[in-house]
């Protein structure tokens, strides 16, 4: 009797677990399949390069790709040095229990949890209005930089911490200064981690919508300078789906392009990281 109930419980649990896995796989496949099914037929080089017409129902996404690229570049150009410097400072110049380091780390942890729409509010108030940058690619990029900073810092800091202490000791034993140790030894050794951090940040910036709605704006013209308003891919999808009747076909294709881009970037990153580790660690 007990044995029977035990068997029933085990079988039930197994069914439950497998059922869960299936029930998650189905919407996932549905989502990806749906994007491919509706988006793939329109996808062409022309779509990627052409200007949007008729509020985006027709034409392509050329200027939108350019704007996205610019926004993300601004974001990375600003976030990278700050992130790298902060990560270095946290991992090499502060002890774990150091007051200053703990304060910075704590505030970054909180910042990582702040919703992107709140960054949008902040960006609108600070960059667009207080600094007078208006709705522009620059404002959008700067806002995104604030948003990706915590994730960037954390991954980069972890990749510096992952380097064994022996490296630092043996560099010091050779009379190499701390700065030179960092620049010549730790920095190159941390490059894969650095790259992963960058890619994660880049992906997050590229996927972002809410923080951009009222910082970089909606304008779908080809941007002429960083002070122009520019529409990001994600905003284009949102706009086509919500505000443009009959915009769905192009929204599908744009979504496919966006997901494809994110996927490619991620694959590229793991490929480089792999290559780098093999180069450094395996005997040749």
């Amino acid at each position: 009797m007990r044995l029977l109930s035990k068997t029933i419980r085990e079988t039930g649990a197994t069914l439950l677990v497998w059922g869960t896995a299936t029930s998650i796989t189905i919407p996932f496949l549905w989502l990806i399949g749906d994007l491919l099914w509706h988006g793939w037929p329109q996808l062409s080089l022309n779509f990627v390069l052409a200007l949007p017409h008729n509020a985006g129902r027709e034409g392509g996404i050329g200027p939108i790709l350019v704007s996205t690229g610019l926004i993300v570049s601004v974001c990375m150009v600003v976030a990278l040095p700050i992130g790298l410097g902060t990560a270095l400072f946290l991992s090499e110049y502060t002890r774990n229990n150091h007051m200053y380091g703990r304060l910075i780390r704590g505030s970054l942890d909180v910042l990582a949890g702040v919703p992107s729409i709140v960054f949008g509010l902040f960006g609108n108030a600070f960059f667009c209005q207080t600094l007078g940058l208006g709705f522009s690619i620059l404002s959008g990029g700067l806002t995104l930089a604030c948003m990706v900073l915590p994730i960037l810092i954390r991954t980069v800091e972890e990749s510096f911490r992952a380097i064994s202490q022996d490296q630092r000791l043996s560099a010091a034993a050779l009379g190499i200064s701390k700065r030179a140790t960092i620049l010549l030894i730790l920095f190159p050794a941390a490059i894969p981690g650095l790259l992963v951090g960058c890619i994660l940040g880049l992906g997050r910036a590229m996927a972002e919508t809410a923080a951009l709605i009222f910082t970089s704006g909606y304008v779908d013209r080809m941007p002429e300078s960083l002070m122009d308003s520019g529409r990001a891919l994600s905003i284009h999808i949102y706009d086509l789906a919500m505000n443009v009747a009959g915009g769905n076909p192009n929204a599908y294709t744009t979504a496919l392009v966006l997901v494809g881009l994110l996927l490619t970037i991620n694959l590229f990153a793991s490929w480089i990281a792999d290559k780098w580790t093999t180069l450094n660690q395996l005997p040749t």
Partner: protein, 295 residues
């Protein structure tokens, strides 16, 4: 020791500069949070001082043209959507982690994990779009109108599930294998091992994942905005459309001025407060685990 002292001198000057520039960069990163909070407060200030925070709870509705800014329907919408999705995503996420670790054959486990990672990387606007064109019509056919709290909960579940699953999986993987081996040696069945050994010992990791997932659900904007209908009301059942705090900001920020704008910033502050609370809870838990491990 005067040999090469000139080289050393210039060395120390550069070192000094280097350290101070790092310090400055770290300060700017650390100060960012303060800057964000200061600006949110600065923009909220007119309403807070001239009308008072209490009014966002006691006004008779959300009518920006009539200077009536009641946030309670949005707050209830936010909380309902987030809690609903966590109730779905927490068990699903944990079961997925168990699937990966205990049930699936290695090949399947690997691909399932890759799939979840991929799911984590899909932008929220794409989730929202899929919800809008696929999920909402399905729900509408079942029980009109379609855009609803339910749609929001389902989409949010898909979005926060990877967070919970990946953190749960990481913490289950960290368990010493000896626990599981000795449980098996005692003749415990697989589910009994999971129920009595694995889940209790990894509960802090599981909770961390849930809190982080909750924080993400509270702050999510685009997907919710696209599938929830955005009607300002306290929903009476799960098929009613709702509007969340985040959707409210996204919808109205573009044309909000004066007090209207102030109130939107106040809702941003509210959101931030909620999220900070959950993130800190998760951090405290994480701190506790590391502390417990070092003891």
């Amino acid at each position: 020791m005067t040999l090469f002292s000139n080289i050393i001198l210039s060395h120390s000057k550069i070192d000094f500069l280097f350290l101070w520039s790092l310090r400055a960069l770290a300060l700017s990163a650390g100060g960012l949070l303060l800057l964000v909070i200061v600006f949110l407060f600065h923009e909220s200030w007119p309403y807070l001082t001239q009308i008072g925070l209490a009014n966002v709870f006691t006004d008779h509705g959300w009518f920006p043209t009539e200077q009536s800014y009641q946030l309670t329907p949005m707050i209830s919408g936010t909380i309902l959507a987030a809690c609903g999705s966590i109730f779905l995503a927490a068990p699903l996420g944990i079961l997925s982690a168990l699937f990966c670790h205990f049930y699936a054959p290695p090949f399947l486990s690997y691909w399932y994990r890759r799939m979840i990672e991929l799911l984590a990387g899909i932008p929220s606007v794409v989730f929202g779009f899929w919800g809008l064109v696929v999920l909402v019509p399905v729900i509408a056919a079942w029980h009109p109108p379609g855009p609803s709290l339910l749609a929001g909960i389902l989409i949010l579940t898909l979005m926060i599930l990877p967070t919970i699953m990946l953190i749960a999986h990481a913490s289950i993987r960290q368990l010493p294998t000896i626990y599981i081996q000795s449980a098996t040696a005692l003749g415990l069945s697989q589910w009994a091992t999971i129920w009595h050994i694995v889940l209790p010992t990894s509960r802090i990791g599981l909770l961390t994942g849930i809190f982080l997932g909750l924080a993400r659900a509270l702050g999510e904007t685009m997907a919710i905005l696209m599938v929830c209908g955005n009607v300002v009301q306290h929903p009476s059942h799960i098929f009613d459309p709702i509007r969340t705090l985040t959707a409210n900001i996204a919808l109205e920020m573009a044309y909000a001025v004066d007090h209207h704008r102030s109130v939107l910033f106040i809702s941003g502050l509210l959101l931030m407060g909620l999220v900070i609370a959950f993130v800190s809870l998760a951090e405290i838990l994480r701190y506790k685990t590391t502390y417990a491990l070092t003891q």
